[in-house]
Amino acid sequence: MLEKDRLIKTSRFVVRTGFIVNRLFLAAVALGLLLSWIFSSQLATLLIQQNAGTNARSEMTGFRLMMVLGIVMSVVIDRLFVALTQIIETARAGDPFIPANALRLQTIGWALLALQLLNIPAALIERFFPSMGMGAPDSAFSAAGWMAVLMVFVLSRVFAAGSAMRDELEGTV
């Protein structure tokens, strides 16, 4: 029991921290995107200073697209953290097998799927904006990521069945 409580406490802490960090990241990237337009000429000058042969306009476009991608990913991750937090709270209350958690797991599944699919625009940015160099987003295929998507959708079904079974036992003497 103590082990389980420690796990839930730790999970709660990790997810809460991730949630806050993600929101800070979202705010920072959104601000960065805005500033990239406000200070576009200064940014272009800085890029040329760093690398004289660079196509500053192309690189700036690439960075802006990367920031938009980052914002989209951050919003998806935010939804994931919200759902995960709610699941952890029900586990803390000792009653996780409820229909709502099956739906929350589905939400997490869709969020993970979206994050995998966002690798496609990331790969396109990397391909069409080579001047970004090391700044380009990492778009490598992740088998573990796809497995996680499948696993979460299956778990959602398990929770739906579990909550139905639990419902049947409600009122059993």
Binding site: E168, L169, E170, G171, T172, V173
Partner: protein
């Protein structure tokens, strides 16, 4: 509900209170009360066995079927 619970009749014959029965069969008073008032959705065989042993009765003494449908 078509299933009628006659637990209170048997308890009265045996001169046993709900509290005493709950202590004897190790089922919470709340759950026994749910059963007695006909609010239970299901009864485990183990519960039925414990009640029948303690009250020295048959399941049919506690449970009855009263079909109120027209057909």
């Amino acid at each position: 509900m078509p299933i009628v619970i006659r637990l209170d009749e048997v308890m009265e014959r045996r001169n046993m209170s709900l509290t005493e029965l709950s202590q004897a069969i190790d089922i919470t008073l709340a759950n026994l009360s749910i059963l007695k008032t006909g609010k239970a959705r299901a009864v485990r065989f183990s519960t039925l066995e414990a009640i029948c042993k303690t009250l020295d009765c048959q399941p049919g003494d506690i449970l009855a079927f009263n079909d109120e449908s027209d057909d």
